[in-house]
Symmetry: C2
Subunit: 330 residues, 2 copies
DNA sequence: CTGAAAGCGCTTACAG
DNA sequence: CTGAAAGCGCTTACAG
């Protein structure tokens, strides 16, 4: 690997001059400029980003910490964030922590010590307050609401309303025994969605039934078995997210229970997959694209500074597809 | 952010001593050790990884370059690689390049200049030879076979055999008009699979029919429309991967064409999703776990050195599920 | 316009 | 055992 000194020597100039032509940070005589350029290409020189970062204290990198790389909600978000960051000259360092608190901690430490310029974290663990507070770079907390320093920004959707919408939709469609497969209740997203369901039921004098379930397909399948034996007369299911909805559907299909005729089903997130499977999933749409772009703008835009310490709540909306339908009156 | 000097000052020792107790790289009197440890925790000191990397020329980071984060084959692989790397004290830097050659180039440059300790690249672009050859760190090329330096290792499956197996299976199941939805033919994976199909057809005197299709669901859906109008009497479809198979199924389902009764369908990869959807997908299984672990061991294991420059070809096998079935003899 | 010098925050020979 | 010094590869005041 050629270093800046090798290039300088070959071009007959000082390292400072090489640096200046590379970065266009000062005028250099055309003659030297050309010599430098030639030397760079002859040596296949690539500046060492580590040294640069050490000096500048900025790596033009933003860490994105996600709880699971297997959940398409996060990979879609990663894709959006990636593109948005690239447009502004930043790159994304994706840290998959698989719901492990220790991995989450070490991801934060790693990002700080790697001179990341910001962190977007889709975590729900309030135990990270300490780690998150000691870091001097901007942090955007996605889908969660635990308190940290005031400089951090929060981005999430109106999950409560989403939960309500889901319940209301199934009710309107004629379901009489609606079971809510709620997500892990230590998670903000799951709590809020469930609370929406609960309040809708209370407001309308509807019985409440729920089972807790992790946000992945293994859990979804296991829970469905339990659901069917506990509530043999269920006719509407609210899943905590699309992946769980898909796994619920799988079990129903296997048992020859028809959807939506016998049981109606609604998901949450509206990941691409939800309209790819058959039948297409009725679900609550989250504006993933907008959320991701907002996160990046808070960290990378110069004007983003003003947005820190604030909460950005995005609206959700119902997407009616094929797993729900208006029941014909008897 | 406290630096090693701050800690040293507080503990009344030299920075060298602080470094020694942090890294356990030399004996330090118990007394000083304790002072240092206390100073570290009082200052919330986290060593700057960038400075460390600059000195050591190793970041304990391995880059994993993938063509698309939306394809679960790659996210499953990323998950495996991530875990395997972590076990050996390395971390993964996932670079999603979305099939863009420029992004691919810059990912390689970035990894080199970030002092990555190795690169695993699932790319198919032989134009990267130059970039890949100039780098002094080990490179593992996944799912591809373009020639680079001899020190690079290659990991892939017996795709040719997979293509044959798929054709053979549909033929055995009684399909008489098999259409191969082949992947982009500049890709090694796609070529080899298609060639397997072609050779099986030739060996058995079967007509060949094929349409090219990108490895994603948009392409899959578009191609299916074309397929159905060009081959109205098709009764067997070989998809280039599971995602495309799922999108093919979607269109068939929409057209009320029953699978496997009217048309049989087989995928490739055996991603988790393929057994999650309904009906479960018959597919060709790739040993993703083993492939990922092998890639990491080549880069991170001390003995991995000997494995460089070699090719590791993994076997595939047929997984019969619900989108194919033996037709009853007429 | 351009070079010598200092410094980013670590680590490791080198003395003692 | 421990500190002063040099150096990893850059960049940017500071002079000239």
């Amino acid at each position: 690997m050629a270093s800046i000194r090798d290039v300088a020597k070959l071009a007959g100039v000082s390292p400072a001059t090489v640096s200046r032509v590379m970065n266009g940070t000062a005028n250099v005589t055309e003659e030297k400029r050309e010599k430098v350029l030639r030397a760079i290409s002859e040596t296949d020189f690539v500046p060492n980003e580590v040294a640069r970062t050490l000096f500048k204290k900025s790596s033009k990198t933003i860490g994105f910490i996600i709880p699971s790389i297997q959940n398409p909600y996060f990979t879609q978000m990663a894709d959006v964030i990636d593109r948005a960051a690239k447009e502004l000259g930043f790159r994304i360092l994706l840290c998959n922590v698989e719901h492990d608190l220790d991995r989450e901690r070490s991801a934060i430490q790693m990002l700080i010590s790697a001179n990341a310029d910001g962190i977007i974290i889709a975590s729900n663990n309030s135990e990270l307050q300490h780690e998150l507070s000691q870091c001097e770079i901007p942090v955007v907390i996605l889908d969660s609401l635990f308190r940290t320093k005031d400089v951090n920004a929060y981005i999430y959707c109106n999950y409560y309303q989403g939960g309500m919408m889901a319940a209301e939709h199934l009710h309107k469609c004629g379901c009489r025994k609606i079971v809510c497969i709620k997500g892990p209740q230590q998670l903000f997203t799951a709590q809020a969605r469930y609370q929406g369901y609960v309040d809708f039921c209370e407001d309308n004098g509807i019985e409440q039934h729920s089972i807790e379930c992790d946000y992945d397909f293994h859990a979804g399948m296991a829970v469905t078995e339990e659901l069917l034996s506990s509530y043999p007369d269920v006719d509407g299911i609210i899943a905590c997210n699309d992946i769980v909805a898909i796994s619920i559907y799988k079990i129903l299909h296997k048992r020859n229970i028809s959807v939506p005729e016998q049981i109606q089903l609604i998901g949450f997130d509206d990941v691409h997959l939800s309209s790819l499977i058959s039948p297409e999933l009725t679900t609550i749409h989250q504006p993933i694209e907008e959320m991701g772009r907002k996160a990046i703008s808070i960290i990378c835009d110069p004007e983003g500074l003003e947005k820190r310490g604030k909460q950005f709540v995005f609206p959700v909306h119902l997407i009616e597809r094929e797993t729900t339908c208006m029941k014909k009156p008897l």
